[in-house]
C-alpha cells in the first residue's frame, strides 16, 4: 500500500513537472517571438547563426541525402522491376523524399548536428554566467542570444531539407540510371508528371518549416533552461536530441494525416 502510494506520488509529480515545463516552454516561445525584432533589424546576428546552423550542417546533409537517395534507388528498383515498372523509379524516389524522408531525416540530422550545438552553446553561456552578465549590461539575452539562434534554425532547416531531397534525387538517378541502366527519359519525365508542386513539394516544405520551429524552439529552450553545471548541460543536450526526434516523428504523423488523405 505504502509502495503504491509512493509510486502514484512520483507519477503525479512527474506529470505536474511535465505540464509546468510545457507551460514554461510556451511562455518562453512567446518571449522569443516578442523579442525577435533585433534578429531582423540587426540581421548580421541571424546570418551568423544561419552560417553556424545551416552552412556548417551542409556536409552531413549532402552526404546523407546522397546515400538515402542511392539506397532508395537500389531498393526501389529491386521492387519495381518485379512488376515491370522500373521506369517509375524516379517517381518513387522523388515522392518518398519530397513527402517524407526529406523533412523527417534532414530534421533528425539537423536536431542532432545543429540543435545539440545550440543547446550546448546557450547552456555553457548560462553556466559561465555570460547570460547573467549580458542581462546586467541591460541587454536582453533572449533578444541578443536566443532569438537569433531560433531564427537561424528556422531559416536554415527548410533550405537544408530542400538540399537533402535534391541530393537524394541525384543519388537515386546515379544508381537507377547510371549504374543499373533505367531509361533516363522515363526516369525524369515520369517524375515530372507525377510530382505535384502544391500537393507534394509544398506540403513537404510546410512539414520542414513546422519541424524547424519545433527543433529550434526545443534547442534554445533546453539550453536556456538547463541546470548551470557540466552535468546539467549534458542532460540538456540529450533532451534536445531525444525531444526533437520525438517531436518530429509525432508532428510528421499529424501533418501527414491532414495533408495526404488521398
Amino acid at each position: 500500500m505504502n509502495g503504491a502510494t509512493t509510486l502514484l506520488r512520483r507519477i503525479g509529480a512527474r506529470v505536474v513537472e511535465g505540464v509546468w515545463r510545457v507551460g514554461f516552454a510556451a511562455r518562453f516561445f512567446m518571449l522569443v517571438l516578442l523579442y525577435s525584432g533585433q534578429s531582423l533589424t540587426r540581421i548580421h546576428l541571424t546570418i551568423r547563426e544561419i552560417y553556424f546552423s545551416g552552412v556548417l550542417s551542409l556536409l552531413i546533409i549532402v552526404v546523407s541525402g546522397l546515400f538515402v537517395g542511392m539506397v532508395l534507388g537500389l531498393q526501389g528498383y529491386e521492387t519495381l522491376q518485379r512488376y515491370g515498372a522500373a521506369e517509375s523509379l524516379g517517381v518513387l524516389v522523388a515522392l518518398s523524399l519530397a513527402r517524407e524522408l526529406g523533412p523527417v531525416v534532414a530534421g533528425l540530422l539537423f536536431a542532432s548536428r545543429a540543435g545539440s550545438a545550440v543547446t550546448a552553446e546557450i547552456g555553457l553561456m548560462k553556466t559561465t554566467e555570460q547570460l547573467k552578465a549580458m542581462d546586467m549590461m541591460a541587454v536582453s539575452p533572449i533578444a541578443r542570444v536566443v532569438a537569433p539562434r531560433f531564427w537561424g534554425g528556422v531559416i536554415s532547416m527548410p533550405l537544408l531539407v530542400a538540399i537533402f531531397s535534391a541530393m537524394g534525387v541525384f543519388g537515386g538517378w546515379l544508381i537507377g540510371v547510371v549504374f543499373i541502366g533505367v531509361d533516363e527519359g522515363a526516369f525524369w519525365s515520369q517524375m515530372q508528371a507525377a510530382v505535384d508542386f502544391r500537393y507534394d513539394i509544398a506540403n513537404g516544405m510546410i512539414k520542414s518549416v513546422v519541424f524547424a520551429v519545433a527543433v529550434s524552439l526545443i534547442a534554445v529552450f533546453e539550453g536556456y533552461d538547463c541546470t548551470p553545471t557540466a552535468e546539467g548541460v549534458s542532460r540538456a543536450i540529450t533532451r534536445t536530441v531525444v525531444s526533437s526526434a520525438l517531436a518530429i516523428l509525432a508532428l510528421d504523423f499529424v501533418l501527414t494525416s491532414f495533408m495526404f488523405r488521398g
Binding site: 559561465t128 554566467e129 547573467k132 546586467m136
Partner: protein, 272 residues
C-alpha cells in the same frame, strides 16, 4: 560614515530574502555613499552574493526596501531596471567574458549595444578602457587565451565601458595569484576614484580589502553583524570580526557543521 542613509547612493532597509523556505537574508540595513568603495564580507554561503544580486535587480527582496540612485527597485519595471543597469557595471566572479568574441569586442559590446557612436570612437574608447587595465596590447586575443587575472581585468574594462555610477564586484580576488590580486585591488580603487563612482565589493579576502575600501560590512547568518572603517575593523574586539580578520578556524563561526555528539554518531545512535 557607511550608515549615513540620507546621503546614500545605494541603501537597503530591512531587506529580507528567501529561496523557498530557506531564509537567506533576515533584515539587512546597509548604505553606500557616492565615491565610496564598500566591502561586504562574510563566510561562504552567508548571503553576500545574494545581496549583490538584489542591488542589481536580478533578484527581488521578499520584504524591505532597496534604493539605488533614488529609485526604489521594487517599483521599477523591466524598462526602468534596464535603464538603471546601463549606469551600473558588474564584475562577475570569473569574468563572464563572452567566449565567442575577442577581448576588443567584449569591451566594445556595451558601447555597441547602447550607443550609436561611430566605429572609430568606439575603438578609441575601448583602447582607453583596455589601457586603464593594462591590457591594450591584448585587444586581439580570445578569452580562452587569457589567464584568470587577465580575464578579470578585461571584464573590469567591460564593466566600466559606459562609465557607470555604481560598480559591483562579485569575489574579485577569488583564485588569483598575489600579484594579480594586488593589481585588481588597485584597479578597483583607481577606477572608482577616476569615475567618481561608488563600488560594492563582495569578498572574503580581508587583508586586500582593508587596504583599499572605505567601509566594511560583515554578514553572517543573513544579518549584518559588524561594520566599520578599515581602522575600526582592525581594532575591533568583536569576536566574529576577530575570527575573520585573523583567520581563526573556530570561534563564533564554528569549524564543525552542526552534528550530533561524536560518541553517539560513532555508536550509530544518531543519523545526524
Amino acid at each position: 560614515m557607511g550608515a549615513d542613509v540620507d546621503n546614500a547612493f545605494v541603501s537597503l532597509e530591512g531587506v529580507r530574502f528567501s529561496y523557498g523556505d530557506r531564509e537567506i537574508l533576515k533584515g539587512v540595513d546597509l548604505s553606500v555613499r557616492r565615491g565610496q568603495v564598500v566591502a561586504i564580507m562574510g563566510g561562504s554561503g552567508c548571503g553576500k552574493t545574494t545581496l549583490l544580486r538584489l542591488i542589481g535587480g536580478q533578484l527581488r527582496a521578499s520584504s524591505g526596501r532597496i534604493e539605488v540612485a533614488g529609485h526604489d527597485l521594487s517599483r521599477l519595471g523591466r524598462k526602468g531596471l534596464y535603464a538603471l543597469r546601463r549606469r551600473m557595471g558588474m564584475l562577475f566572479q570569473f569574468g563572464a567574458l563572452f567566449t565567442d568574441m575577442s577581448v576588443f569586442d567584449n569591451v566594445a559590446f556595451p558601447l555597441r549595444e547602447h550607443t550609436d557612436l561611430p566605429a572609430e570612437t568606439i575603438r578609441d574608447l575601448v583602447l582607453m578602457k583596455l589601457n586603464a587595465v593594462g591590457l591594450r596590447g591584448a585587444e586581439r586575443l580570445q578569452p580562452a587565451e587569457l589567464s584568470g587575472g587577465m580575464a578579470r581585468r578585461v571584464a573590469l574594462a567591460r564593466a566600466v565601458a559606459l562609465d557607470p555610477m555604481l560598480i559591483m564586484y562579485d569575489e574579485p580576488f577569488a583564485g588569483l595569484d598575489p600579484i594579480s590580486l594586488g593589481v585588481i585591488g588597485q584597479l578597483i580603487r583607481r577606477l572608482n576614484d577616476a569615475l567618481g563612482a561608488s563600488s560594492i565589493m563582495v569578498t572574503h579576502d580581508v587583508h586586500e580589502s582593508l587596504e583599499i575600501v572605505d567601509y566594511i560590512y560583515f554578514v553572517a547568518d543573513g544579518r549584518i553583524v559588524a561594520q566599520g572603517t578599515p581602522d575600526e575593523i582592525r581594532a575591533s574586539k568583536d569576536p566574529f570580526v576577530h575570527q575573520f580578520v585573523y583567520a581563526e578556524a573556530d570561534g563564533p563561526v564554528p569549524f564543525h557543521y552542526p552534528a550530533a555528539p561524536m560518541g553517539e554518531h560513532l555508536l550509530g545512535r544518531s543519523t545526524a
